[in-house]
């Protein structure tokens, strides 16, 4: 007799989670654990793997070699190579100077050119007011230079130097006659007051043919030196006004054409004339004659 077991179906599965499944589920729902498993653990594992790989010197050197190889293969493409240097806006000597102080061996990759450092180097030249460097397509290193324009010649301690309007040195000068067109200033500290000197020179227009230059005295005030050893001594403050005063006197009374050694305006309220000995004698003689006439 065959036994038919119809109701011995497989035992119903228990829907309850086991204790460990329950605990693991709760652990998984814990925010800290979750964050750690999703972010911290992968990061830690990859970090460890990287550390392990780079701990071996041959791996490290292989990596750096590979890196530099790739970099070189890109940098040395012909598109990035610089062949020529072109200097615009500089005189012959200045561009020669620039070529001398920029030691660049062409052809060179533009990745290896440090334009900012090169700009700093060029700007250290006295004759350069401003310089722009850029790499133009076609492998050209373009250097645009703005030169300093000399405004005055400065004579100090037996040397001649060219200064620009702000008093910055431009170049040395070997002979005054090389730049006879520029006015002359002299004296220690004159380079710091070049704008004032230029104002004085401009104000001295009417006597420009007689003026030899302006002299800084004691690093505080100016003398205007004229030919025939005449000088106009100007005060520390508002020297231009004092000079204009003297020029007005000259235009009215031919002051400077007379036999004077100096016009002393150091105290503007009390202008003083210093005469030469011969003129003094002449004055005394004339006074004597005039007085004699009166006495007689």
């Amino acid at each position: 007799m065959r036994q038919v077991d119809t109701d011995s179906a497989p035992a119903r599965r228990d829907p309850a989670p086991s204790r460990w499944a329950y605990r693991l589920h709760r652990l998984w729902l814990t925010p800290a654990v979750r964050k750690f498993l999703r972010l911290g653990l992968p990061l830690a594992v990859s970090g460890l793997a990287l550390t392990w790989v780079f701990a071996q010197p041959q791996n490290r050197s292989a990596f750096t070699e590979m890196y530099s190889d790739i970099r070189r293969s890109i940098a040395e493409r012909p598109e990035f190579m610089v062949q020529v240097m072109a200097i615009d806006g500089a005189s012959e000597e200045l561009s020669a100077d620039i070529r001398e102080i920029l030691p660049v061996d062409f052809p060179i990759s533009s990745f290896d050119l440090d334009l900012e450092a090169m700009q700093e180097v060029v700007e250290q030249l006295d004759a350069v007011a401003r310089v722009d460097l850029r790499i133009r397509p076609g492998g050209l290193l373009q250097i645009d230079v703005t030169e300093r324009i000399p405004a005055v010649v400065w004579r100090v301690q037996g040397m001649l130097e060219l200064l620009d309007e702000a008093g910055r040195r431009v170049a040395a000068l070997y002979a005054r006659t090389d730049r006879a067109d520029l006015p002359l200033i002299a004296g220690l500290g004159a380079d710091r007051e070049v704008p004032e000197a230029l104002e004085l020179i401009a104000a001295a227009g009417p006597i420009a043919d007689r003026m030899r230059g302006v002299l800084r005295v004691g690093e505080r005030r100016w003398d205007v030196v004229l030919d025939r050893d005449q000088r106009i001594m100007l005060p520390e403050t508002r020297p231009v006004d004092a000079l204009e005063q003297v020029i007005a006197l000259h235009q009215a009374q031919e002051l400077l054409a007379r036999d004077l050694a100096a016009v002393d305006m150091r105290n503007p309220a009390r202008p003083t004339l210093r005469m030469r000995p011969h003129a003094v004698e002449e004055l005394h003689r004339i006074k004597g004659i005039e007085l004699g006439d009166i006495l007689q």
Binding site: D7, D14, P15, A16, P17, Y22, H25, R26, L29, P31
Partner: protein, 444 residues
């Protein structure tokens, strides 16, 4: 009395911690099902600004983010009888709810329906030191309540001051700051069997969770099923569960009486099973699909296949008429309702100003109960469903989830219990700092 509060105070502290963390679980350990809800508390402000919804009786403070139900195992009459089975069922429910909420829950508020609840009304009164009632006076009057002998293994579940009276004025909710000579209070104390609590505690411990509160399910159902004026004027909530039927009487928004009848829907099922000679599962299905308590002529003609899988054709093709099924179910339902009536009479329910009775719980869904119940319980009977709370799945809005929902409301807005008040200074240890402060206050 002090040691009695220790566990309750610890639970209260734990609930505070859970609320601060923002997530708490609600666990209803019933005879027929175990339900678990996961609540998230994030304050009412979050919803107030954008959609203009005010705090709906405090419900907007929380949101149900996880809900799960599983068939209960190892629970009889609302008490745990097979601990391992129950633990597994709790684990199933909690895990499913956590999975739905996608958050880990560490604190749980549980309710249990059986364990023979017993209600006591306590009264106490004191003379006030000075005319004004202070916190300390409230503490003293609560301490002065005469506590009856509860029994060795009984555990205090609820102890709520329901009324304060100052001299001849009664019905005060909060006597602090008022002036009088004699302060009296009434308190409702509810005890249950301590072993049941211990078993529940053990089950929850085994699930790696901590108990943050415990309540009677009759009380929780009352909170969720009675509307506000019913709670205020006086009403009884009858929670017809699977293994036991809890009843709680509310008055002035306080529970004043609770009891439970050890009969429920499962007894109806077992009656059907015995009467029709079918398995319990089939009986349960027949009860829920075809059940009823009021027979009509139509029911005589309606035949129900009750089936079977014995292989005997005659046996497997049996049918019964629906009238027969009703004939089996009705006496048992009547018995339950009569038992409830007896308990209500014993509690003096007829003296309340309003005698509304609200039937809720899974067994209250039997068709025709609204016709049968008034014959036994009186005219003012309605079938109640729990309040709607935010985020509750549609499947969990039925009457069977009244105590779950009530427990959520209880978690959001707990009533003051005895242990939430200050302890009277006299009961502090002799070297306590508070006692020193009190001495200074009294003497300067």
């Amino acid at each position: 009395m002090t040691d009695l509060y220790e566990s309750q105070r610890a639970m209260r502290a734990m609930r505070k911690a859970a609320l601060q963390r923002g997530v708490i679980a609600i666990l209803d350990v019933g005879t027929s099902k175990i339900a678990c809800l996961v609540l998230r508390f994030d304050g009412p402000e979050q919803y107030r600004e954008n959609d203009g919804v005010g705090s709906l009786a405090g419900q907007s403070a929380f949101r149900v983010i996880g809900a799960a139900t599983t068939r209960s195992r190892g629970v009889r009459f609302g008490e745990i009888s097979a601990m391992n089975e129950t633990e597994r069922a709790v684990r199933t429910a909690v895990q499913a709810a956590q999975k739905m909420a996608n958050v880990r829950v560490d604190h749980v508020i549980a309710c249990l329906s059986g364990a023979m609840p017993r209600s006591y009304g306590l009264a106490g009164s004191i003379d006030l030191h000075d005319a004004t009632v202070t916190e300390q006076d409230v503490a003293r009057v609560l301490a002065s309540c005469e506590v009856p002998d509860l029994g060795e293994t009984r555990h205090v579940l609820h102890a709520q001051p329901v009324n304060f009276a100052l001299d001849h004025r009664s019905g005060l909710n909060d006597p602090r700051g008022q002036i009088g000579n004699r302060l009296a209070c009434d308190m409702h104390l509810m005890t249950i069997d301590g072993d049941a609590v211990q078993n529940l505690l053990y089950c929850i411990k085994r699930c790696d969770m901590e108990l943050a509160g415990i309540a009677s399910s009759a009380y929780a159902s009352g909170i969720s099923s009675l509307v506000e004026d019913e709670q205020e004027l006086g009403a009884a909530c009858v929670d017809m569960g699977g293994g036991s039927t809890g009843l709680s009487i509310f008055m002035k928004k306080h529970m004043i009486y609770a009891d439970s009848v050890r009969l429920g829907g499962e007894h109806v099922t077992s009656d059907i099973s015995k009467g029709l000679q079918v398995s319990l599962a089939t009986a349960e299905r027949i009860k829920t699909v075809h059940g009823g308590v009021v027979a009509t002529g139509m029911d005589d003609r309606e035949r129900i296949e009750i089936g079977g899988d014995t292989g005997d054709w005659e046996h497997d093709r049996r049918t019964v008429s629906r009238a027969e099924l009703i004939g089996i179910m009705r006496p048992r339902v009547e018995e339950i309702l009569e038992e409830v009536r007896e308990r209500l009479d014993a509690a003096g329910f007829e003296h309340l100003p309003s005698q509304q009775i609200v039937l809720t719980g899974g067994a209250s869904q039997i068709p025709g109960l609204d016709g049968l119940a008034p014959k036994i319980l009186g005219n003012q009977v309605r079938i109640g469903r729990p309040l709607r709370v935010q985020g509750l799945p549609q499947a969990a809005t039925g009457a069977a989830f009244a105590s779950c929902v009530g427990l959520s409301l209880f978690a959001a807005h707990p009533q003051d219990e005895w242990w939430d008040f200050e302890m009277p200074i006299e009961r502090y240890p002799a070297r306590s700092l508070r006692r020193a402060v009190k001495w200074f206050k009294d003497n300067w």
